[in-house]
């Protein structure tokens, strides 16, 4: 507790103390090494009666600095907040399976890509929700006979506008299109070799090496990320033992990811958040075990503090705060983590 808070609290007198039994609890700092945070579970000031959420699937920050949330609550599929948690606006009612949410700056204009896993479609919209492009199930791949087999969970957009769609709840292919939505190729899918995927839940363009961007794809049930060239050639596996990682999110030199749950405690709200440095070494787990390496191999990771239930995505803003969207977690609004400096 810092001095200012102490003075404030003192002024409350006895009544305040009685009403706030947690006043003197140790302040919890989450995470490890240089990635440590304070947690605010009351960040959202949205009114649950007017603007409810269901699963909070993904979040992005737009060019105005505002935080956008995608939920499969069709009363308001997209909620737009300022960084302080004030709800500014909402839109969208036609995305019952709203899941993947990617923002791309297209020649100075923000555009959004929504993966709807009930509609079996990827929808490109303007920042205020006007539909610009719809990608149906990828017949061109020769891998699908009907829309239902295709359950897209995520998109990533390359600098040239190419669209990569992860069919994470379908057949685990990554399908590459040009910016106009014309099919280029597909890769991934399921199989025994390392280049294959199992629950390809997320995809991102790793721009940490500016000379040579690559793709990082989630293979969630294998507790791993897999790296590919932009043309879909497999490069390497980044093993994350114990962690059901969701999509990778790059910010600065770091890769952040929500971990839906721990392998050691399945379907018991055992999620946390993991942070990898530019060498893809885990440096911090928020609500999770202190990262350790034994003979160069990452030790199994697991939840240690039940501060999250099933985190599904992280959004890192321009001030290094992290917002956490959660799936199937009692319809909670996103939480916010502020860095401890």
């Amino acid at each position: 507790m810092n001095r200012r808070h102490f003075i404030k609290n003192t002024s409350l007198g006895v009544a305040g103390m009685l009403w706030q039994p947690d006043l003197f609890a140790a302040e919890t700092i989450f995470g490890h090494n240089n990635k440590r945070y304070r947690l605010n579970t009351h960040w959202s000031q949205a009114d649950v009666a007017r603007n409810p959420v269901n699963d909070c699937h993904e979040m992005v920050q737009n060019s105005q600095g505002n935080i956008m949330l995608l939920t499969n609550e069709v009363k308001n599929n997209v909620l737009i907040y300022d960084k302080g948690g004030k709800l500014l606006n909402t839109w969208g009612s036609e995305y019952p399976g709203a899941h993947g949410f990617t923002l791309f700056n297209e020649n100075g204009t923000d555009v959004l890509f929504i993966c709807d896993n009930k509609r079996h479609q990827v929808i490109k919209t303007s920042i205020d929700g006007r539909v610009l492009l719809v990608l149906d199930y990828p017949k061109e791949t020769g891998q699908y006979t009907k829309a239902e087999e295709y359950v897209p969970t995520e998109t990533a957009i390359a600098a040239n506008g190419d669209i990569y769609v992860a069919d994470g709840y379908g057949k685990d292919f990554i399908i590459q299109y040009n910016s106009a939505g014309r099919y280029i190729r597909h890769f991934g899918g399921r199989g025994a070799e390392d280049k294959y995927l199992l629950n390809a839940h997320g995809v991102c363009v790793d721009t940490r090496n500016n000379l040579k961007p690559t793709l990082i794809v989630t293979s969630r049930q294998q507790n791993a990320f897999k790296r590919y060239t932009m043309e879909g050639d497999y490069i390497e596996t980044i093993s994350l033992p114990g962690a059901w990682v969701c999509r990778p999110v790059i910010k600065g030199d770091y890769l952040y990811a929500a971990v839906l749950q721990s392998n050691s405690n399945l379907w018991k709200q055992s999620g946390f958040v993991t942070i990898l440095d530019k060498n893809n070494k885990v440096v911090s787990n928020i609500g999770g075990s202190a990262p350790g390496y034994t003979n160069g191999k990452l030790d199994e990771m697991y939840q240690t503090v039940q501060c999250f239930a099933y985190p599904h995505d992280v959004c890192i803003d321009d001030e290094e705060n992290i917002y956490i969207a959660q799936w199937n977690s009692g319809k909670v609004y996103p939480y916010k983590l502020s860095p401890v400096v």
């Binding site: 706030q20 302040e27 919890t28 579970t41 202190a290 240690t304 503090v305 039940q306």
Partner: protein, 264 residues
């Protein structure tokens, strides 16, 4: 006075809103071991990499409290039916749930245990699955389980030599959300050489169980009221035929999962 009151209220409000601290529960520590079955003394490891916390454990079956021993190094298990219970404690956190495992020492040597063919979805791991000293993994997806639904399960157990038998242990899984229940009926028959036929030595019907959460291994211990001398036993189990009323799958058949048999 009024102004002061309003300021006070205002401060309380902002304070409550902005600085309310959540008190979080610790997650359970990880309990790691090769198998719940052992013949030589074996090691059990507990893991919980969270600064400012400690794992406390008991070996007497009691719920661990803040006064119990702090875990520092792997535990060595020597005794049959030792139960390790562990829990994480830390200042500023609510204590974790308890994790627990019971370790079972080998009984008489079994040379063969032939079960009714299991459901193809849960075939176990080979012909020695029921006496390979592997198992006790509280997870439906562990490949070590033999799974049955509806059909009566009969397992014929051949010991290395004739023995005087007082009890039998069946290692089973209970995971009600996955529809895995303990059997509704268990009977045991022993082969009487002189009469040249199987004779009943145990029969128990279990009442419908309360529906619980979580996946746990259960040692179903059969104590024979009268010791029998034999080299061959037959264990017959009836899976739950109709899930209890409180279960979402009420009326449909449950599963029975078994991975090991011990004879003492």
């Amino acid at each position: 006075m009024m102004a002061k009151y309003i300021v006070c209220l205002f401060l309380f409000f902002t304070n409550g809103l902005v600085h309310a601290q959540d008190t979080f529960r610790l997650a359970p520590p990880l309990l790691r071991y090769k198998s719940e079955f052992f013949s030589k003394p074996m090691e059990v490891t507990l893991l919980f990499a969270q600064t400012g916390t400690a794992i406390r454990y008991t070996l007497n079956g009691n719920e661990p409290s803040e006064n119990d021993t702090i875990y520092k190094a792997p535990l060595t298990i020597n005794n049959h039916l030792t139960t390790v219970k562990a829990k994480a404690f830390g200042y500023g956190f609510l204590p974790s749930e308890t994790v627990s495992a019971t370790f079972v020492k080998d009984g008489y040597t079994i040379i063969s245990a032939t079960p009714t063919p299991p459901n193809p979805k849960y075939p176990g791991n080979g012909s020695m699955a029921l006496f390979d000293k592997e198992g006790g993994v509280a997870n439906v997806n562990s490949p070590l389980w033999l799974g049955y639904q509806k059909d009566t399960v009969a397992i014929t157990v051949y010991l290395q030599r004739k023995q005087t038998i007082s009890s039998i242990l069946l290692s089973m899984l209970q995971d009600h959300s996955a529809r895995v229940f303990l059997p509704q009926q268990v009977s045991v028959y022993y082969f009487d050489e002189r009469a040249n036929k199987f004779k009943s030595c145990f029969n128990q019907t279990n009442p419908a169980s309360a529906v619980t959460n979580g996946s746990i291994t259960k040692n179903y211990i059969i104590s024979l009221s009268k010791k029998v001398k034999t080299g061959i036993l037959k264990v017959v189990m009836v899976p739950v035929q109709s899930l209890p009323e409180k279960h979402p799958g009420h009326g449909t058949p449950g599963w029975l999962f078994i991975d090991e048999i011990k004879v003492y």
